[in-house]
């Protein structure tokens, strides 16, 4: 098996995605199938090949460190689920 139920629980925790206990086996099987499918590319020899992260081999452009944006914090806070005094509200982190 290319991936184990233990690994599925581990990666779901990393991805902050909850998996119900009764779904772990099924998901392991489904994701295992997909991983077996992609594993066929391991037969290609890629020694000495440089990875291609940008399809046109373009280099990320930098811009001058100048303020170009206007302050839109009110607009952005306006769509947040919970806001108080210009801050995003989340559950208590430290008791």
């Amino acid at each position: 098996m290319p991936i184990t139920p233990k690994q599925i629980i581990q990666i779901s925790n990393l991805a902050r995605i909850k998996i119900e206990q009764d779904q772990v086996h099924l998901l392991t099987e489904k994701i295992g199938e997909i991983i077996s499918f992609v594993d066929k590319f391991k037969t290609i020899d890629t020694n000495e090949i440089e990875p291609l992260f940008n399809p046109l081999d373009a280099i990320q452009k930098l811009r001058f460190d100048e303020i170009t944006e206007i302050d839109e914090s009110e607009n952005f806070l306006g769509i947040a689920p919970s806001v108080r005094k210009n801050l995003f509200v989340v559950p208590k982190v430290i008791d």
Partner: protein, 488 residues
Amino acid sequence: MEIHSQSIAQLSAGLQRKDFSSEEVTRAFLERINSLDHLYNAFITVNEEGAMSAATKADQRIANGTNEILTGIPIAHKDIFCTQGVKTSCGSRMLDNFIPPYNSTVIGNFNDSGAIILGKTNMDEFAMGGSTETSYYGPCYNPWNTNKVPGGSSGGSAAAIAASLTPGATGTDTGGSIRQPSSFCGITGLKPTYGRVSRFGMIAFASSLDQGGPMAKTAEDCSILMNVMSGNDPKDSTSAAKESEDFSANLSQKIDGLKIGISFQNHAKNLDLGYQNCLEQALNQLEKLGAKLVEISLPRNSFAVPTYYVIAPAEASSNLSRFDGVRYGYRCDNPENLHDLYTRSRSEGLGDEVKRRILIGTYALSAGYYDQYYGKAQKIRRLIRDEYLSCLKNVDVIVGPTTTGPAFDIGSKNNDSISMYLEDTYTVGANLAGLPAMSIPIGFVNECPIGMQLIGRDFEESKLLNVAHQFQHATDWHLQSPIKKNNA
């Protein structure tokens, strides 16, 4: 000819001649959506009020002579492009309450040109899918046969054009999401070169593959949409340093002497006989127009789908980490602590296919597996691109099928991820290589339309549009309509 049957070019000419007003055109399409979209579920949001108000302004521009070619033309947008003040859901419960405070560059460009935002079209959740069945808003149905999928992920845009609910639309294409639905719905769609159309404000799925593009009934209309959509954008650091060009300028050029590469070996084993016959006839037509066929070989392309299904989920797992229930989007009720807030907001707000891909991506990027999967996939990607570039030194365009067959039945591939992923067999190569590619209608199999794919060199969209226009000048597949068939 009725308003809804006209192409963008025809509507634009009619507006210029004052045969009708933008208000009349916009109302005609809104009325069709209101009376027919319950059959297709192509729209998530209809922008009725905003569209009519924009149409009034467009009519003023036309009256005072400051109009452009798209002024007053209603266009539908895939619900992945942020539209200020209009809900942008990306087909997900996660963004069901998201009303963007800004416009994507593409939408801003359309607004500046005076085009009308007709509404936002249905799509696979976060563009992950090839059937528009994973949408939180329910599946979209193919206007040619409502038991069939319209393709995806830009299925709502393709279905809306096929049903003449809009004359044109935007789509996005990460692994075939413009071309495959275009093929399934009998319309014309173009995925431009990576970097040609700004990704600013286009909700990210896989950033090194995503590319927005036009969808319409004809290549000519796609060229008109491209003229507005494309161009360098300082807000997108991956935007190509190329100014927009006039994509309509070369449409009428003859294609005499054009070298077309085709890999018969690659296609013969996967295609059914009906599709092969249509493709052969289309190639004969191109030969009659003066093109020369050249046999090419793309053996690495058989690894394109596995490569894609490592890179795309890996980038998705990173991009979708922003949806955490804190700053915008869905938040779970009564979170116990911060971890619970993140985990339940994501688990309740995202659908199964999206969660599956995030998990695959997280695995491919995790310690101990990065080199085996993500690193390896990016190396194979270079081999695939090199192979395409080598072929494109000897030929002007590469031609083949867009899909492995016509539209499939709704629900038929829901439990078989691999089979669904293999739908992308012919399309993902162009995304991995960053090359421009388009799909045009070439006939019917089992009364459903099928398409032919054209792949070109970097930034040679004009060449693809030229070949497609010449083909459409000589054929009438793009003029077939499910409305004529169903009398809708």
